[in-house]
Amino acid sequence: MCAAQQSGDVFDPKKVRRLIELMQEHDLSELDLEQGDSRVRIRRGGQVVTVAQPAAAAPRAAAPEAAPAAAKADADAGMVIIKSPMVGTFYRASGPDASPFIKVGDRIGPDKTVCIIEAMKVFNEIPAGVSGQVVAILVENGAPIEFGQPLVKVDPAG
């Protein structure tokens, strides 16, 4: 994003950082600037953009992430994400030889077990909590899971 390094041009990291600060101060969601044949367009996504240290990294980190976050928000509109209520290891089936609890395309109800999360040697069955059609399984079998991690995407209208 910040390719050119000369000061005085719109891609100067200092200037981009200042633009981002201005956007936050005035709660702007999009900024589109043209100067000659250079153009800078910055869009803030649904996430809070924190101007964190180190200062030099901030413009690089904030601007590109803002666009993917916005794009993701569009694709997820109307979808329900089943999130992990605990910390542990994710399993798609009750055993290595068993078939997965759910697969993409399945229609499920709120009591349907979607996965197992193992924590401290205890296997916890996780219910869907929602009705709809399974759109995507967001975690690989055997992956470590943190609290709040998105597990399954469900289309409630499906």
């Binding site: 924190t50 101007v51 910390v87 290891t89 401290m120 943190e146």
Partner: protein, 447 residues
Amino acid sequence: MFKRILIANRGEIALRVIRACRELGIETVAIFSEADRDAPYLELADEAICVGSARAADSYLRIDRVISAAEIGNVQAIHPGYGFLSENAHFAEVCRSCDIVFIGPTPEAMQRLGDKNSARTLAREAGVPTVPGSDGLVSSEQDAVRIAREIGFPVLLKATAGGGGKGMRVAANDLSLASAWQQASAEAQAAFGNPGIYIERYVERPRHVEIQILGDQHGNVVHLWERDCSTQRRHQKLIEESPSPRLPQATREAMAAAAVRLAKVAGYHSAGTVEFIVDQSDNFYFIEVNARIQVEHPVSEMVTGIDLVKSQIRVAAGEQLDLRQEAIVPRGHAIECRINAEDPAANFRPNPGRIERIIAPGGFGVRWDSHATAGYVVPPHYDSLVGKLIVHQPTRRQAIDTMIRALKELRVTGIRTTVPLHLEVLANTAFHEAQVDTTFVERMLAG
């Protein structure tokens, strides 16, 4: 030595432990609640795992999630920091049964010393002077009156499971004792789930002086001398320093020796602090043990040159303490100011919010231990500590001057902090002349 450690804490102490681990070549796993998702120090850890939503009870205090995080993070040990689970014997027990080393004392030593009342009993066993008081918990209001008359008014009622100044009441006579007893009990039940109260004679205008101890798993215990923490407001420490000014050398040595004796009798290892109060005649009395690393540990680090957190990690890994007591000689004078997100102009109302700008002080003899950066949002769910400003100089006078200079250099915009209060204390004649006891700040504020 451990390959990987999980830090079961947040904020400045999490950063402190991460730093020690990085220097020891140990990988780190940090945990965070949803309120701490954007905490800047998380990127310094090798891995960061979300353990729950904002409330401490739903995240940092969730033993099951902390242990799960330790398991998926593949760590050999957990450093609990201070607060949260650091003095939770059950948590230390769970770590042990899951084959994870708890970086701190054994659950048994923690229990022996963590319960204030049992600690007093151990202290008497170890020949450590205690404040005249009840021989155990007070069973009723009548019992309280009888004991109070025996030891003499004024008395202080204290929660056995207490900390942070909660569950404490002073009673000057029989009449006020009844309501003091009820209030202290209720507050203790609410704050700690344990209404147990014991009574001590109330020492007027005491100094709070504590001894830093460090033990290994081979029975060796040393002390790192004292810290004077008399500058408090509502039992919360504001400023700590070492050495304790105006403390006679003989008293200092007797206290330090007593602290080491107590640690040995209790089978204590790792870092810990033995707290005493010192009366106007320089008599000292044991109060309690804090079985963990403390907020103000940098003060002792500066005067002794010993890294306490690294020492904790080393002794937890089974290493023998490479320290002889004779070699632990304090040099110079160190002072720490706790910079909290509180508004001194609004009765110290907590002031969480977004730090717009922060300029950290520096220079010769200045240490800034803080996780705060520009843009950092101080969350409302935890303590209000923004950072610790520590200075170390050859003399107390110089340390005070440097601290004043550093406080003025520190700029935090976006939230209010306690800097003005610290400056007021450091400009105060009584503080310069070391005529400070635990009532000093409140008397100064009352004008």
